[in-house]
Assembly symmetry: C2
Homo-oligomer: 355 residues x 2
Amino acid sequence: MKHNFGAGPCILPQEVFKQASQGVLNFNDTGLSILEISHRAPEFVAVMEEAIALVKELLKVPTGYSVIFLQGGASLQFAMVAYNLLAEGKKASYIDSGVWAKKAIAEAKLFGQADVVASSKDKNYSYIPKNYTVAADSSYLHFTSNNTIFGTEFHQFPDKKNHLVCDMSSDIFSKEINVADFDLIYAGAQKNIGPAGATLVIVKDEILGKTGRTIPSMLDYEKQIAAESMYNTPPVFSVYAAMLNLRWLKAKGGVAAIEKENITKADALYKEIDRNPLFKGTTATEDRSRMSVCFVMENPDLEKPFLKFAEEKGCIGIKGHRSVGGFRASLYNALPITSVHVLVEAMQEFEEKNK
Amino acid sequence: MKHNFGAGPCILPQEVFKQASQGVLNFNDTGLSILEISHRAPEFVAVMEEAIALVKELLKVPTGYSVIFLQGGASLQFAMVAYNLLAEGKKASYIDSGVWAKKAIAEAKLFGQADVVASSKDKNYSYIPKNYTVAADSSYLHFTSNNTIFGTEFHQFPDKKNHLVCDMSSDIFSKEINVADFDLIYAGAQKNIGPAGATLVIVKDEILGKTGRTIPSMLDYEKQIAAESMYNTPPVFSVYAAMLNLRWLKAKGGVAAIEKENITKADALYKEIDRNPLFKGTTATEDRSRMSVCFVMENPDLEKPFLKFAEEKGCIGIKGHRSVGGFRASLYNALPITSVHVLVEAMQEFEEKNK
Ligand SMILES: Cc1ncc(COP(=O)(O)O)c(C=O)c1O
Ligand SMILES: Cc1ncc(COP(=O)(O)O)c(C=O)c1O
Ligand SMILES: [Mg+2]
Ligand SMILES: [Mg+2]
Ligand SMILES: [Mg+2]
Ligand SMILES: [Mg+2]
């Protein structure tokens, strides 16, 4: 049995794999594959509508916000956010908390002034910047709620008096949030939403259409909203599998219930990292991510052997990103607590063997 | 049994459905779903490489061209083509042969001058424009090789002395082409390539990087080429299913073999349209598409009854687009000749019943 700690595309519930696999053969007893039905067929329109309704229900999205599924991943959002929200001659503010934040900043600079108001680069992004001021005339403040590569997470969001734009790619649906505090939230699907190929955007309608720019249709949030995520052919299968996954989350008790599980999983792993003399965390304790647990070994020579040892126990995808080294265990929603236990036991056994 | 004549997303081979379904449960005996593996895992890198190699092999792509898989569909290409190839102050030429051509023109106009050198709008796009001149200093000539909605197809391509850019969304891989005649070819995957969610681009390397524009990374062909279609998380499942479908095409004998079948299928259906006094084609005979066969009834009151009759025989997806009315039977690569026979027999039976 494999325990998939991969950073994304990542583990999804086994029942989602079964249902999606069945849908590829025979979707909803239509006698057709989900891959061959028209996106305009009522059966698929119902899928898209249910996926959007589930996002709204699970995150309690208030009225005045639109929910759309797009293509291009979070990386296309780096550009779309600025294209749609940053007027020429205006400026936006960005928190530089890691690789993805930096990429978002680089794309925004193509469209206007993107000021870095705070950065944790000085300590290899091992903490969340906390004291900074945002210019009152800033169009928005952009931040990355979970820094997938470095293992830090905003446990308290920036002041909501700013217009908040958030890349929630790696912690959306992992915990309760108040959508009303944000102007725009986006996320590549391939962590807690579904497989790769879809991108979720939740946007406050009233902020759109104010830059005076003419935006290519595919990049224009207003056009995508008006077309109800069907401006062109949507990524049918990715949206279908996302819908199945959101159904699973609802059946589990929704975001509040999964948040409890996620806390339990992260606590169990961090506890072992702290207790076990061979391992140590890489981030500031108060900023530790519940989704992306980064750690190294006191003796770096033991890292290769431990990686091998853990893999023999079935723990895969735990090699850390090269910017941090060591290990990263991603504990997304679908990862069962039993997988965390297997990893913790592997750490303990390895400690015994290396005494 | 259903005969899927849908315009796209459309029928794919049954064995592709079976293999893709299996991959969702257990991909290549990894014990993991194709939906949960990292796009950087060697197993998926091999899929992407094979998909690209199959495109090159099946279309005999010459050296000096790059092949990439992107997201966003053909509609995002409408903008990307101009963003990457049309410098400010320069102009491009477009042939207006239908709805999709028009949309491509509208997006190009956001980036520079897009001149319509020929249009068949005067006769509701029922023919392919043939006599026109293209300004010698035009950056490129854009055309839509198959007009999916109106049922016309370029059986002879425009003069290759122009820099040709072609939207081949609905006839790529249906017939042999000489890639060297083109500067750029693009296609949404959801007809002859695979399921929705991926976009294929074949581009001559030397035409890139010449506009002086700074292009958002995700929209920059050069960056996507340098990253080998992995600038960010690619649409993993869509590329996987496309790879399976291209393998199927290769096993069938490749493009030359499928072209023969496609000719046989289209001939059979057009023959019946012409012979049967109840039906008539909607396009100029010499411009008839082999992929998108559009036809109406001499007596429009019989169209609803025939649609129902054909559906009872299992023929689905044959309702024409509202811009043409009547019927459209899409005869993509995966549609078996037996499905065409069923439709032809339905037309004949219906004729008998209405004598
Ligand atoms: C926080 C965050 N933002 C952005 C991205 C890039 O996402 P995509 O590959 O969908 O463009 C990632 C990918 O892991 C991420 O973790
Ligand atoms: C010729 C042609 N071009 C472009 C498109 C739009 O494709 P997409 O939905 O991938 O943007 C279509 C869709 O059917 C098409 O047939
Ligand atoms: Mg990061
Ligand atoms: Mg320790
Ligand atoms: Mg058309
Ligand atoms: Mg006739």
